[in-house]
């Protein structure tokens, strides 16, 4: 019995240490990406190509989701606000929810599932088919050529996608609130403008989306680069990317929100 207890503890200790070891490796990998980022900007076409695959191809899901989230906010918001006779505050509710929280967070989650997993799969497959090895043997640094452009593409695309999500959401809220339900159009926009502060809300939202972009892109490229070069290895890595990214996004959101929206 003591045997089982000790082996369970050893197993637990093993997993914790291996996670920490992996985190250390991931951090060195991050530094390596930053170090070798020169190529991504000197040969900007590499990065542009990746922005197409991560950003442009995510547009549909982001825009449609943004629209629906905004519309739901409009419906739910109106339902609650009109009970207190404050239905003209619908604009404020929709705008602030989106710009401060839902825009950056939901678009980051969607980005992680769509673009993040694609990046992991791509890099993992390149590793499994020895393409990264071949590149190394041809004296081309695979981190500079393959990994860094994908990382920067993610960082650049993320804030743009978050802004698009929020904008579509506000439009969705407008559609439902003003066009469908009949909330006063003037007060919808004017109250929104009066309460949404550029620095406090919008800039903070952008900062959040940049931070999320860095985190998701880092996790995606790392999981791909570190995956086992087998079919199960790659599929496990893509799952890990989505799960880890989602958890990290939500945790980081809490930390950032606590810093940014303390009190006032």
């Amino acid at each position: 019995m003591l045997d089982r207890a000790t082996s369970a503890l050893r197993g637990l200790g093993n997993r914790v240490t291996s996670r920490i070891w992996r985190l250390g490796f991931a951090s060195r990998f991050f530094l390596a990406i930053l170090l070798y980022s020169g190529t991504s900007f000197r040969r900007f076409f590499l990065t542009i190509r990746e922005i197409y695959f991560t950003g442009v191809l995510s547009l549909i899901i982001i825009l449609v989701s943004g629209l629906f989230v905004g519309m739901v906010l409009g419906l739910q918001g109106y339902d609650t606000l009109q009970r207190y006779g404050s239905s003209e505050a619908l604009g404020i509710l929709v705008a602030l929810s989106l710009v401060r929280e839902l825009g950056p967070v939901v678009s980051a989650l969607l980005f992680a599932s769509r673009a993040g997993s694609a990046i992991t799969a791509e890099i993992g497959l390149m590793k499994a088919t020895e393409q990264l090895s071949a590149m190394e043997m041809m004296a081309v640094n695979p981190i500079a050529r393959v990994v860094a452009p994908r990382f920067w593409a993610g960082v650049i695309s993320m804030p743009l996608l978050a802004a698009l999500f929020s904008a579509m959401g506000i439009f969705g809220g407008y559609l439902v609130g003003v066009v469908l339900i009949g909330v006063d159009e003037g007060s919808f926009w004017s109250q929104m403008q009066a309460s949404v502060d550029f620095r406090e809300d919008i800039v903070n939202g952008v900062i959040k989306s940049v931070v999320f972009g860095i985190l998701v892109s880092w996790i995606a490229v790392f999981e791909g680069y570190d995956s086992e070069p087998t079919a199960e290895g790659v599929s496990g890595a893509t799952t890990r990317t989505v799960v880890t990214s989602s958890l990290v996004i939500l945790a980081a959101d809490f930390i950032l929100t606590a810093f940014m929206f303390r009190g006032a």
Partner: protein
């Protein structure tokens, strides 16, 4: 996917992304209305600022003319010293009243400037002498109850 089409699509993507950001900043937020123009400083001392916060608006006749810059406590006289950044296009006469008001019944607090008739105007950095502190709800209720009790006693 050849280079040209790729570049075009990415360009479109970045363009609409930036447009969305611009839309949020101008139409949704208050970037357009916060005049980043020139401002000058006016100070005002209050006994009680209530719930006034930094960056609360300073209004005259209901129109925003500036923002509260800084709020400090004067340790000698135990008054609140409020620094206001007023837009340079507005000059206020020296007998202006600065009152702390609430928008709506339970809304955010702001500073209202009620002008007098003095010909001379404030110079930057000067203090508004006539101030009226915020109405604190508890004091009001206490006052009301006290008045009511006094009334009752008088009647007797």
């Amino acid at each position: 996917m050849n280079r040209m089409t790729l570049d075009i699509w990415v360009g479109v993507f970045v363009a609409i992304g930036l447009c969305a950001l611009l839309f949020l900043a101008l139409k949704v937020g208050n970037l357009a209305s916060t005049n980043t123009g020139e401002t000058y400083v006016l100070k005002a001392n209050f006994d009680n600022i209530g719930g006034l916060k930094v960056r609360a608006p300073v209004k005259s006749a209901g129109v925003v003319v500036g923002r509260v810059g800084d709020i400090r406590l004067d340790a000698e006289r135990f008054e609140a010293v409020v620094t206001m950044n007023i837009s340079s296009q507005f000059k206020f006469p020296r007998d202006t009243f600065a009152k702390i008001r609430t928008s709506g019944l339970l809304g955010e607090q702001y500073i209202g400037l009620a002008v007098g008739g003095d010909e001379q105007v404030f110079k930057p950095g000067e203090s508004v002498k006539k101030t009226e502190s915020a109405m604190v709800l508890e004091d009001l209720v206490g006052q009301f109850l006290f008045d009511k009790a006094a009334e009752g006693k008088d009647k007797k």
